[in-house]
Symmetry: C2
Subunit: 144 residues, 2 copies
DNA sequence: GATATATACTTGACTGTTCAAATATATATC
DNA sequence: GATATATATTTGAACAGTCAAGTATATATC
């Protein structure tokens, strides 16, 4: 069995580690009524200057398709965490905007997410973490 | 909006990068009739001394649940890439063993997977890749 | 104004995976 | 031997997300 390149090993391990880590986060964040992807969505929206995003832009930031974004946002709208906002100039576009309830949930979930991250990988053990984050950003990671 | 810890940023970016990367791999490997998870499964089985694994052990290596493993293996058995083997001593246990056809598919897919990895992240650009792989192994990545 | 092409988003149908329960078996204890 | 507990795997149902097609709108060209 020939050896794999380091790059391929990297991606295969990425797959496994992500699968396990996202289960951990989903389990912890579930107490706030959201998933890890919900959290990521609320976080990205909160980081926009006017706390809103086009759905196609959001899809790119979280690495899912536009239809995937529709599937995720629909229940979040029903829960009142986000609201849909139209674009005055382009009727094709709709924005997803953070609501007050959404901000509250995000803030509460932030502490849980930080604790979960610390549990999986204590920062004290995280050598060169900033470097890894940078590396993932180069690969398309959108959280800066 | 307070800043996130480096560790949390790491995991959030992991999520996004993995989502995009796995789509790339799935697209490319689809020409062999398998998915990235199929590939990972065949790879892990091939790396066992006797080319077989218990299903619970396989689940751990790929970061999915036992029922997820059952769902994935069933079509692979039908396709003839793997076969089920019983355990003589423990009737609860069944092994998944690589077949000749499975070995062939894995070898063909290896070239595609390497090319895909190189496309996403050229090894010449991959500074400290071995270090990142090591880091992911510490986090539970099972491809060494 | 008509037409062609592109873009944004949704939706029916589907795939991949999990959850919770079910089934079968193994082990430990009495 | 009976019983309790644990483990391995499967399965019905459900959830998360994609695919491909559909719908609506915008833009470019004639």
């Amino acid at each position: 069995m020939s050896s794999l390149s380091s790059t391929l090993k990297f991606f295969l391990n990425l797959n496994v580690v992500q699968s396990v880590a996202s289960k951990r986060f989903d389990t912890k964040l579930h107490s706030h009524g959201i998933s890890l992807n919900d959290f990521l969505i609320l976080y990205h929206i909160a980081n926009e200057p006017d706390e809103k995003l086009r759905r196609t832009d959001l899809a790119e930031k979280i690495g899912l398709t536009a239809s995937g974004v529709t599937r995720i946002l629909s229940p979040l709208e029903k829960l009142g965490f986000v609201k849909k906002e139209v674009n005055a100039r382009d009727a094709r576009v709709s924005y997803v905007k953070l609501s007050s309830a959404g901000k509250r949930i995000l803030n509460e979930a932030l502490a849980t997410a930080e604790a979960t991250a610390e549990q999986i990988l204590p920062e004290s053990k995280a050598k060169k973490m900033e470097e890894f984050v940078k590396f993932l950003n180069e690969l398309g990671g959108t959280v800066q």
